[in-house]
Symmetry: C2
């Protein structure tokens, strides 16, 4: 490791409310000469919006622009290949600053290692550069707070699933769990709701969009219009309330 290189800082900035950044991430963010942020092509960056008020004018902003935002592409295009190329390119851009001795704060919604975009930079750069990862408030617990409902009691298990999974796999996993969070809804919402319906779980499910952001919405599952569901929506199945009568 070249000791004159900058440090790679993976900073979880929390679920959306700028106040849900940690004191540590805020300190490192403000001290970093370069701030790298993920942004989908043609859109604004959620991660950047979260920290905007904390940035100093002299900080260099380094956008890492996602090539595509949906996962199903017509042949010969392949999302996985495009994404891999994007991360390779982003790592090169970040490394240029590190090589020049500048710390780079790579900001990440929620937590860096919990489905965070930072993971792919980490896999490409952490062996070569000193790396600091600051955990953040992840969306699952932010959603539980938004719906004012405890998520897991005592010795209950929690399963976190991606809405991208096929219906039969979702069915099998949701049938076996005591508490669950289904993330990455967007276009997968109608499928997930149908699975919950088939399992008789609609009544227990809680739906949250953009938890802790100014645009947060909490809706009954039956009231959700599938076509309007954003990627940053989640369904929670909280664990059964513990009444003090048993080990769970």
């Amino acid at each position: 490791m070249n000791m004159r290189s900058g440090r790679l800082l993976g900073l979880g900035v929390g679920p959306g409310d700028p106040e849900l950044i940690t004191v540590k991430a805020l300190r490192l963010l403000r001290a970093a000469p370069v701030v790298a942020y993920p942004v989908a092509k043609g859109r604004s960056s959620n991660a950047l919006a979260i920290v905007q008020e904390y940035l100093r004018p002299e900080q260099v902003l380094l956008p890492m622009v996602y090539p595509v935002t949906i996962e199903k592409l017509p042949p010969p295009f392949c999302y996985e290949t495009a994404l891999r190329g994007f991360y390779d390119d982003a790592a090169v851009s970040v490394a240029a600053h590190l090589d020049a001795g500048r710390d780079v704060a790579a900001i990440c919604e929620g937590d860096p290692f919990f489905y965070g975009s930072f993971m792919y930079l980490h896999d490409r750069l952490a062996e070569r550069y000193e790396t600091v990862v600051v955990p953040g408030v992840c969306s699952v617990v932010a959603c539980a707070a938004a719906v004012a409902t405890p998520l897991v009691y005592r010795n209950q298990s929690l399963t976190v699933l991606s809405g991208v999974l096929e219906a039969d796999e979702l069915t099998r996993r949701l049938a076996a769990c005591e508490a669950a969070a289904v993330m990455k809804l967007g276009g997968n919402f109608a499928k997930v709701r149908a699975v919950l319906g088939s399992l008789g779980l609609i009544g227990r499910a809680l739906y949250v969009e953009r938890a802790t952001m100014a645009t947060e919405r909490v809706l009954p599952l039956v009231a959700v219009e599938a076509a309007t569901v954003p990627y940053f929506a989640m369904i929670l199945l909280p664990g059964t309330r513990w009444d003090g009568q048993g080990a769970r």
Copy 2:
């Protein structure tokens, strides 16, 4: 709701490092006239230790003293009954301050709704008093940061389990998951390690004690002495690194 009552504030203070509190929790903590904290009888409070440096001398400290610290008691004692009584008593103590118009900051390690002691206060008081819950950095993501390893990629699922579960149940659940965190180790460690061994997962498992605290330790699973494992230890099974070659 009596509008002159104080507010119940459930504040996640993060996994251990005082800097991993959020800006919001810190603001509400410092403004609250009363700070309620959980503490096991005869021990010091981890939650209080995390926020100690932020407290003001004039704040009233309200200890909520756990009656027992282990889950298996000889008859006629019953841990569940004792615990229920403890939470009932704690709720009464907190409610007395709320009724007097004082906000009570109930601090909680990690996140309030993720196995947090605050959940039991919430269940007893949230219908009667205005309640604010501030999510926190939970131990699972803090441990992933401690071992510098991404936890879940793309559409992988994460299962969070309690080490208290029986060996056969742990076996069934761990065999079916892509990434996992086993919490509440303590005296359950030897059982959990044996299960991981039977599943051939020892090599993938990462062991962390007291993540982000000054006493944090990361050890290879085979090097851990079972008798020394604290309750605040965790085993992580991170998801397989995504190499850009498939949908996961």
